[in-house]
Symmetry: C2
Subunit: 230 residues, 2 copies
């Protein structure tokens, strides 16, 4: 267990100990290749394919990114930052309902453009991961966006932040199905769901929401820990 990893500047010079020039070049190729592979094939894309696409041996990939998650996190750090920024913008809007729409639409658009991010949004990183903090931040912002929309009266009062997971998961599969066939279909689904989210004329729901623990466990599981039945 390596006690620490350098903050890992994504492309440019690093402060601590600048990589050798060939190392930096390979690292960049790997990240570009991974970005492309993950976008096309999802977060589970073969690392050997990534290395091949980067024009680099598999051992080199493992030298730079000992675990798949190291690669995943560097690849998606940027999009996660966009997501966070959008959430902050959404919270700053006067109309909380419009803020919610902006938040969800941006989130779904990020998912739709990148099957890797689609997977990434559905899971929860282990607490030791360096992006775990950003994920927590998104979570907190989401809570506030939902609560504000509820308080302003646009959002139905029985809707809780955990319900947003339904949107993420729904989209995850809808995008898998329609990607390349009907690239904007997800938006129709989103607005159907949003109509279900509105306060006006809401009907009672038959089940309580997920508890935070249930949500956490579900997202962890989608991440990787196999709880098989054996």
């Amino acid at each position: 267990m390596p006690p620490e990893r350098a903050p890992a500047a994504t492309t440019a010079s690093a402060p601590a100990r600048p990589l050798r020039r060939d190392a930096q070049r390979n690292r960049d190729s790997l990240l570009a290749a991974a970005r492309a592979m993950f976008a096309e094939h999802g977060m589970q894309a073969s690392l050997e394919q990534v290395a091949k696409r980067a024009g680099v041996a598999i051992g080199t990939l493992y030298k730079h990114f000992p675990a798949r998650l190291d690669l995943v996190q560097e690849v998606f750090a940027g999009k996660l930052a966009i997501w966070v920024a959008t959430a902050e913008q959404a919270l700053s809007m006067d109309d909380a309902w419009e803020g919610l729409c902006l938040f969800l639409e941006t989130m779904c658009e990020l998912q739709a453009r990148d099957r890797g991010f689609n997977d990434f949004a559905s899971i929860r990183l282990p607490e030791t991961a360096c992006l775990a903090g950003q994920q927590t931040r998104i979570h907190d912002l989401g809570v506030r966006i939902v609560e504000r929309a509820r308080e302003q009266g646009g959002l139905r009062p029985d809707l809780v932040p955990e319900d947003l997971a339904f949107i993420i998961w729904s989209h995850s599969r809808i995008i898998e199905a329609t990607d390349g066939i009907a690239p904007h279909a997800w938006r129709r689904h989103l607005y159907l769901m949003l109509d279900g989210f509105r306060a006006e004329r809401a009907h009672p729901l038959p089940e309580p929401p997920l508890t935070p623990e249930q949500l956490y466990r579900a997202m962890l599981r989608l991440g990787g820990a196999d709880n098989s039945t054996d």
Copy 2:
């Protein structure tokens, strides 16, 4: 390409040429094992595991079911029949909206109880498959259920039968996420979506529905035909 397959009595005596007793026994074990494996692990469960669970050699499995789809179809024929029967019942109800609810709730419940059926419901079988006709029947019944609910005024007028695929796909992922953690969570999501489906809550949708061709292609793709990017 064998020109025909016997209608394949699921467990009992077959009319054409009764299987040898050991063969029948093995066949039944295989079906039981496959039912269990598919229910736990989805339609992609390892066939070698299925054979092992049935206490039978892998070659025997392939002798009875030369292609995975042969096994899948026999396993899910029963549930598909239940689905069809429910759809017919839904159509016979006076209140079309309640019919729609019954139809969707039963469908989702079948999905929730069986990860294999969850996958199965999301795909379209190739036209040569022996259950393809039943799938077409479900599709037709779904169309009539939706149209009737629209005509009676409960369902929003801009909702088309193809939109039901959103529910199937959504649930597919939600069940993957929450199975064993929050076993009824899917119902909350279903009723949120249903609120979005009601005529009284409709707001304009930003995208046209999937065309039947798009839907068909999307479901075919989830089935298996890889359209890779190479």
